[in-house]
Symmetry: C2
Subunit: 308 residues, 2 copies
């Protein structure tokens, strides 16, 4: 069903999952930018807590131009959401009549943008729970987790989603198909909005956000605003979602969120995907989200200062 | 009228003003902690844009214990507001029947605390507009400004306030007595709440806070909340106060606020004086201040994380 696969956005996450699919024997085509020359010559080195492996230049297909790539059965989108304006340029050359598109990007709105451009029937949403980083060109470290939840953009059980989850599992990537991925997405937002958002605004790691009653109340308040927004659009999460996430996070030690790393390194912030689109959803649904409003203003301020 | 003066809190600001008063010929008694031994041996070195000078150990009176100090005509309080719990211990030994107390500390609530402990008739409030820093023990740099506004805690014109402003002026410190110091205090809060408060929470200098519409809107929103609070307690500021301060700050280049420096150096934050007490005032006056509420929660969170 997915004999050929394209990875659009070959950062740490895209390279890791693409390499796993290639290791399993899939024909995986990587669209690369900065790492292109190095990977073309030396292949990919994966250091993974599920087992290290290498892909030689002969084992993978690397491109620096989407026009040189073949049409594929599956496009996996792992771009930073700040590059979503590239969808219309990067994806069309890869699409045949039945090509599916899976986004593993952060936050909200990515599957909608893809559906608007290429039709909702093509699109699957996915959530990657993984810790990866790229230490140099072509060298990827996979340090923890790796689970992928995925499902159709148009909610409902599907053989395609099941087949894709099965392909991931056969490629050493734990995965599960969900009939309605929105539940997973909003549950992840409950965590990401405070810990990625507030953590970035205040430059505090997870443990420091939870080190005081004041910080815990800010985190909890944001979580409840996200849960209220999800409920208002027909995605009611379990009532104890916030408390469970706070408890789990309090025991996991210091964690520097991805957007906080982006801030420290002066890169654009994924503030629209992680906070801005949830805020727009809340406004449409007429849910009062005062904390979310201010958080987004603060993130936009930092993003502008970063790029000054 | 002020023949003997005690400086309680001999950081950069207290040391500078005390040294100016001593240079003018006053009998100034400095209560010191960390710098005591060094200053007792080597005196004070002042590098000032109004003229450098030195005070030899023979020219000043330095103490490491308030019990050894004489009663004085004037106590000038320049402690960090985070040390206000020391008032009851440090100040009583200095008080004669007619001793006046002038606070030059940051933010709101200091004169009230002094009035509660020692009687409102003793207390004068002051605002110091000055850039000073201490580069090593006994070495103070005065890099800009220096103006002191002061006035009675119990509003009204007073010969004492005029005499004190006069003493400062004779000591090369520009100064003005105000019939109601609360106007000066709230006007300063209009600036300090956003630039000190938000600047600390987001670790952004003044120019970066004003580099985007989002940031400027956050600053303006906080300024308007402070102005509304001031008006509600009978201190109406000019309607263009916020816009004037924003314009002036936008032209003055990057400025790192005092609390932001404290955050970076892991010191306690003056969040109660600068944001917490204004917030309490707003709550009492039933003025809605949603931005101030969140700002204070964020500052408390950072202060707790800093001291973790």
């Amino acid at each position: 069903m997915f004999n050929s696969i394209a990875i659009v956005g070959s950062g740490a996450l895209g390279s890791y999952y693409g390499a796993r699919l290639a290791q399993h024997g899939g024909a995986v085509h990587f669209l690369m930018r900065s790492d292109y020359a190095r990977v073309r010559e030396h292949g990919l080195n994966i250091y993974s807590h599920d087992g290290d492996f290498k892909l030689s230049p002969e084992q993978i297909h690397v491109y620096d131009d989407v026009a040189k790539m073949p049409k594929v059965d599956l496009v996996i989108v792992t771009l930073k959401t700040t590059a979503n304006d590239q969808f219309a340029k990067l994806i069309p050359p890869l699409l045949g009549d039945k090509t599916a598109i899976l986004t593993l990007q952060n936050g909200l709105g990515n599957d909608e943008e893809l559906a608007t451009l290429f039709g909702g029937q093509r699109v699957l949403g996915g959530l990657a729970f993984i810790c990866t980083n790229r230490t140099e060109a072509g060298v990827i470290h996979h340090t923890d987790h790796g689970f992928i939840k995925l499902g159709e953009y148009v909610p409902g059980a599907s053989a395609r989603a099941e087949a894709l989850a099965d392909l991931f599992r056969k490629s050493k990537v734990p995965s599960e198909a969900m009939a309605d991925i929105r539940y997973g997405r909003w549950e992840k937002l409950v965590w990401n909005v405070p810990f990625n958002g507030l953590g970035t605004v205040m430059d505090l790691e997870t443990d420091k956000l939870l080190a005081s009653e004041a910080g815990t109340n800010l985190v909890r308040g944001l979580m409840h605003e996200i849960m209220a927004t999800a409920a208002a659009i027909g995605v009611p999460l379990a009532a104890d979602t916030a408390e469970k996430q706070i408890q789990r996070t309090a025991t996991m030690g210091a964690y520097v969120s991805s957007m906080q790393v982006d801030r420290r390194q002066g890169r654009p912030l994924e503030h629209m995907a992680i906070v801005g689109h949830p805020l727009e959803t809340a406004r449409h649904a007429k849910v009062a989200t005062p904390l979310l409003e201010i958080l987004h203003q603060q993130l936009v301020t930092i993003d502008a200062a970063n790029n000054k």
